[in-house]
Subunit: 306 residues, 2 copies
């Protein structure tokens, strides 16, 4: 799978992913009103509004960006209807040729982790009928439970040519509480990074592994160290834009081949029309605003990150 | 919420929780065949079979056990229909007066963690229409992202009188890879435990906090240390039965007041009819077998864990 993602990054010359993390406050009022009128003030109305919003964004950016990353929490918040909107978003993004990274941050043990892996990137076999329940290409995985939690995902990566990004160093202010704890002089995130390399060696796909890592844009010094520790690991970099990271902070995350990292922006793109810089697009131009923000982000990375 | 759980534990004199973690191999063939006939070899068929199975178990154990813990991964594996079965299971358990612990092990940052918290234990407000999407009482939470990830859950606990159990030391063999790493001479799980106490102080409910901890039955020496470190923290103890823990290993997890821990068994109860000891019940008696296994588990804990 990682080679498919790399091909798409190269053909679009854009190592970016658009985070589809809808929140009510990002959705233009005319879309909400339409669905409130249709379905009342219900979970279904919000779910339909989310999907219409996402469709607009996807249509505006699919020629520019290689991938989208829906954050499942935003959909799960609205229960079953929300999760149906998540699944419809995944399918629509696939129709448009995008690689879909499901930001699910799941992690459990043994058969439980296997169930998550099968449900999201694998397939169930019901008496010979093989079904891919969520059918995304890559998911994010939480490593706190160790190899028992990650290996079932690695197995599915090999079986179905899929990928994972394992949380190593997250972009949030309190990520250091546990991730930075020193053990024999080394922070925990480095110890996790070594395991990422080990897990990744079991599922190589060309020059890179199907096991990637999440390293926040907000910690570029750590990004530089982690880049060297995990030379064949693709790094998913959240925290660009709204969380404070910028193009020049991203140099450290790329390898000399110009590959090795893919940078996420969520609200910086999907809520661009609410940003002063793109406010002339107005509510009705939300999708065009997101396209303009995508172009600017790609430009920033091309000019500053290499 | 923790006081509600404690009341139920005391009135039933049973500090246990039944893990509703259905797998195809646990479901009696006659139930599967019925739904395959009705819905084909589909996700819907499996989801209906899971719910019928769970209903049988709940009916058999609700007078004995204070709580159930559906593992959402087992449902999520079957996509949207699976998640509908999860929600129906939650609602049916509530009808029977059970406390429902959603084993979701979610954890993210800021607004994303808030979305998980709201979706599972809180409520969304859609233009004044307040809806509780999953409406469980307590969820499990992964702490790897630090306070940013956990505090949104604590806020919802306070707002809606709900609870969480934070993963501290899990029951699986590889849990030590990261959780046992020594930092300044202390294992990471102790550092997490201290944070659990800190988070818990913000949401006390009687003698115990709405922030509990997960500590596996398979590590009783660590359980003893963690018990002392977190005196007002309820401990959810997985790993009893099928994973190797037994009643005498559980002493360490309880406080002197006889409270402080609730022990989970999943397949040891729900798949009891497949165990030689209860095989005389046969497939059709799966629910009665689970009732017998529940009685035996409670007996084992009453006789050995105090």
């Amino acid at each position: 799978m990682i080679s498919k993602l790399i091909n798409s990054i190269q053909s679009k010359n854009a190592p970016i992913v658009v985070g589809l993390d809808p929140q009510l406050k990002f959705i233009p009022q005319y879309i909400l009103d339409k669905w409130y009128k249709e379905c009342g003030h219900s979970l279904d109305a919000v779910a339909e509004a989310f999907f219409e919003f996402n469709k607009g964004i996807i249509d505006a950016i699919y020629e520019l960006a290689p991938a989208v990353k829906p954050q499942i929490a935003m959909y799960e918040q609205y229960g079953i209807p929300g999760l149906i909107a998540y699944k419809k978003t995944v399918d629509y993004a696939h129709e448009k040729g995008l690689v879909v990274i499901g930001d699910i941050k799941r992690g459990d043990i043994g058969s439980t982790s296997e169930s998550y892996a099968i449900g999201h990137i694998g397939s169930v076999d019901i008496e010979g009928n093989v079904i891919k329940p969520f059918d995304v290409d890559i998911v994010t995985v939480n490593p706190y439970l160790g190899s028992d939690g990650v290996n079932p995902f690695v197995d599915v990566c090999n079986k179905e040519d899929k990928g994972i990004f394992v949380l190593v160093k997250t972009s949030n202010p309190s990520s250091g509480e546990f991730q930075d704890k020193l053990s024999e002089g080394r922070p925990l995130y480095e110890i996790v990074a070594e395991k990422v390399v080990e897990w990744g060696n079991a599922t190589m796909d060309g020059s890179y592994s199907n096991v990637g890592a999440v390293v926040g844009a907000t910690y570029p010094e750590m990004g530089a160290i982690l880049r060297k520790l995990m030379p064949k690991t693709y790094i998913l970099v959240p925290g660009y834009g709204a969380q404070g990271g910028s193009g020049k902070d991203l140099k450290a995350y790329f390898n000399e081949d110009g590959l090795g990292a893919i940078v996420n922006s969520s609200r910086g793109i999907i809520a661009a029309y609410k940003n002063e810089k793109y406010s002339s697009y107005g509510e009705a131009g939300f999708a065009d605003a997101s396209r303009a923000a995508t172009i600017d982000m790609i430009e920033d990375i091309r000019n500053n990150a290499f």
